[in-house]
């Protein structure tokens, strides 16, 4: 029998490995840092054993070779780039890439065996008569990353989930950080009050607008609805959602769930929420379409190239491809 030592040493330096790994990743390029800045706090890093990772700054293939599982937090455009450009060496039969289930249509046939899908599932869903005490409304609101139409749709969907009386009874907190809209697309200044007007019009006038550090400092978001207005063009799995769900917030009940997903694993990543992992039935779904082989591609190319002045700062992302891909899937009503 092993005799237990009466004394033991505690040294937190061992926990430095995790923080070092996430802070000093060799893949953190200038582009990635720039994106993280423009998308802060949504694109901040968070930890889970599924290796959550953002490839929007350009994925370093040698880094991706190091682990067998990656949860790709990115949205439509970075994922489109990734599956268009990533070398097939990454598919060694063992490595799995987890992609948000909203983007099942982006996976080319050669990648389908290496990709599983995920979704974040809180312990509480609101709507259909279940009313939270508090609502945190946040998201990425600017002309380059989120269309005003998408914003309108999201806010009217939210308003429709509750009665006027229910909305009146909630404490509503809104947080919409705004950066100059020069990440992808336009350089113009933007009057962000148009978003505030939409919130007031669809919800109510009594809304609080605290700073991020105030929101971040509270550890208790139980009985709180977290509602993120995010088209998912760049980041889908945001660290802000991660923080709120970890502290007890719930989401709005989803409607029209696709049935082609089969849950194969559930992994708890906080006291209050899980990551669900799914397989997708590609055989009985719409066949994959390569957006670059579309008949309209040359036409789009012309329009977009004409409307896009050359930039120096962020040339990688300000290519016409991002705009094209978004318009392509929108035109087909897939997103």
């Amino acid at each position: 029998m092993k005799i237990k030592e009466p004394n033991e040493i505690i040294q937190w330096s061992y926990d430095f490995i995790q923080s070092f790994y996430l802070n000093n990743s060799e893949t953190q390029t200038d582009t990635e840092r720039m994106y993280a800045h423009y998308l802060a706090p949504f694109a901040e890093k968070y930890y889970s054993p599924l290796n959550p990772f953002l490839i929007f700054g350009g994925a370093d293939i040698s880094h991706l070779m190091k682990k067998d599982v990656w949860l790709l937090r990115d949205g439509l455009i970075p994922l489109s780039f990734f599956f268009k450009d990533a070398p097939l060496d990454l598919m060694d039969g063992q490595r799995k890439f987890l992609v948000h289930k909203d983007f099942w249509f982006l996976i080319p046939p050669e990648w389908q065996k290496s990709v599983l899908f995920y979704d974040m599932i809180p312990s509480t869903f609101f709507g259909n008569g279940i009313v939270p005490e508090k609502m945190v409304l946040t998201g990425i609101a600017n002309d380059t990353l989120a269309d005003i139409d998408e914003f309108v749709q999201a806010i009217t969907d939210l308003a429709a989930a509750f009665t006027e009386k229910e909305i009146k009874s909630m404490q509503i907190i809104a947080y919409f950080p705004n950066k100059r809209a020069d990440l992808w697309g336009k350089w113009q200044d933007e009057n962000i009050f148009k978003y505030a007007k939409l919130i007031f019009k669809n919800l109510k006038l009594d809304i609080e607008f605290p700073e991020w550090d105030i929101l971040q400092s509270s550890m208790d978001y139980q009985n709180t609805l977290y509602y993120e207005i995010n088209s998912g063009a760049i980041v889908k799995d945001t660290s802000v959602q991660q923080m709120f769900l970890s502290r007890g917030a719930g989401l709005l009940k989803k409607k029209n769930e696709t049935t082609s997903f089969k849950m194969i694993k559930k992994h708890q990543i906080s006291l209050y929420h899980n990551v669900e992992i799914y397989e997708f039935d590609f055989k009985n779904s719409l066949p994959y379409e390569n957006p670059l082989k579309d008949d309209l591609m040359p036409y789009f190319k012309k329009i977009i190239e004409k409307g896009t002045a050359p930039r120096v700062l962020s040339e990688g992302w300000e290519k016409w491809y991002g705009t094209y891909i978004k318009k392509y899937y929108k035109a087909r009503k897939i997103i």
Partner: protein, 441 residues
């Protein structure tokens, strides 16, 4: 007649313990008001210096005119934010510090975090009448170690609201029933944040030992939110989700029956915390948190008469008394980190098992503790401190400036700060050796 102008924040602190400490402290000041003492409160914006410069200026001008109008015999600062040094720096634009009344500073655990600010204002405070009121013997030793002279420091342990925390046997019975705990089962409680320096994973591992050796069925209840604060002074910055994964890994490595006996309650309101304290049989905390100047959660447990085992660290050692059941687990700083005498965890549990603790004991311990730590008792203690004469502050010594520079040289998680890594031969040792009392219990 004394005239106290108490300066407080207009919003509650974001720190869980300060949300309780500050209102209780303010209540003590409110009760001081009487024939010998006039007390007036002045509210300052909690977000002072963070949002609107013009609004900040209006607050400071209003404070300056309040000082002129009320003519206080002393200025009392009861909150940790906005920080007193920032307030004084701005206030001194309108009233020079030498013309201000004496200061009473309630010092919180964040003294080390604000070491640079304290060091910067040291010269301006020299010769002024000052009282630094600290919340424990450990904090007193630490502040004195940074001071040129052992003066100006008073000790006032933060009070617990006796209307919120007390022993209630009926509540114990009903809470245990609701939680499905049998009479003969032993419940060990930890309440507080689940962050790196609180060493909850170590507690879980020690609990596992208890579970496998105990003749009684045992449960561990963990109440509080997961917090990825890490050990930033040391360069260890955790990301959201890290602590949960770390603890989850520990739980998954335990035998199934041990894991099933551990319950996480998450963040809970005060009333539920009292119910859980009443329902528990013992409270344990192995915290080595760097700003553990007091320990509100153990104080709340002791107010409910719970037998308590705490690390000999920071404010925890101030809770030791023969009038209630509180033992310490010895700590030593070694070249490799903190050394904990973990065998004491099982010893404490066995001591509990051998003692027949009944509701009369629990009630007596609770009453005895509250005789010393209630708001009523606190008001009397505070009165004595306020009546004491002021001493002239002689300034902080060189070591505070040195510490502040090292503390703020952290690299945001890119490298370890070796000077502040727990060890027995660096600045961490020189400052935090004051947190170890060496008391035998």
């Amino acid at each position: 007649m004394k005239r106290l102008l108490v300066i407080r924040s207009n919003k509650e602190s974001s720190w869980g313990s300060c949300k309780v400490i500050s209102p209780n402290l303010q209540e003590c000041y409110r009760r001081l008001k009487g024939s010998t003492c006039d007390v007036r409160f002045f509210e300052i914006d909690k977000d002072f210096l963070r949002e609107d410069a013009l609004r900040d200026d209006i607050f400071i001008i209003s404070l300056a005119s309040e000082i002129k109008d009320f003519d206080p015999t002393e200025l009392v600062f009861v909150d940790h934010v906005p920080h007193v040094v920032d307030l004084l720096n701005f206030l001194s634009i309108y009233i020079p510090i030498k013309d201000m009344p004496p200061f009473v500073f309630h010092v919180y655990g964040d003294f080390t975090f604000y070491s640079q600010s304290w060091s910067n204002i040291s010269e301006s405070l020299k010769g002024h009448s000052v009282k630094f009121i600290v919340a424990s013997e450990a904090q007193e030793k630490m502040i004195k170690s940074f001071s040129n002279k052992d003066t100006c420091v008073e000790r006032f342990l933060f009070p617990v609201d006796e209307t919120e925390y007390y022993y209630d046997h009926d509540e114990r019975v009903s809470t245990r029933q609701e939680a499905g705990v049998k009479d003969y089962e032993v419940v060990i409680l930890y309440a507080g944040r689940i962050s790196l320096q609180k060493n909850v994973e170590k507690l879980i591992k020690e609990y596992s030992e208890i579970f496998s050796t105990s003749t009684f069925p045992t449960k561990l209840w963990i109440v509080g939110a997961f917090d990825d604060f890490g050990a930033p002074f040391q360069g260890v910055l955790n990301h959201e989700g890290y602590m949960f994964s770390k603890i989850d890994q520990v739980i998954n490595s335990l035998p199934e029956n041990v894991a099933a006996s551990i319950k996480f309650w998450g963040h809970q309101p005060k009333q539920v915390i009292r119910e859980l304290n009443n329902a528990s049989d013992m409270f344990m905390s192995l915290s080595l948190y760097h700003d553990e100047d007091f320990g509100m959660s153990p104080a709340e447990a002791l107010a409910c008469g719970v037998p308590t085992l705490l690390t000999d660290w920071g404010g925890y050692s101030s809770f030791v008394s023969k009038r209630w059941f509180c033992n310490l687990l010895p700590i030593k700083l070694t070249p490799f980190g903190h050394e904990l005498m973990v065998s004491r965890v099982l010893d404490f549990y066995n001591l509990y098992s051998l003692s027949y603790i009944n509701k009369i004991d629990r009630k007596r311990w609770s009453d005895e503790f509250l005789k010393e730590f209630s708001i009523s008792a606190g008001t009397e203690k505070l009165k004595k401190i306020i009546e004491k004469d002021f001493e002239k502050f002689q300034g902080f010594n060189w070591s505070l400036e040195h510490f502040a520079r090292v503390y703020w040289s952290v690299s945001h998680g890119k490298e370890i700060n070796v000077h502040l890594t727990p060890s027995d031969d660096n600045i961490y040792f020189h400052v935090y050796k004051n947190y170890i009392s060496g008391k035998e219990t």
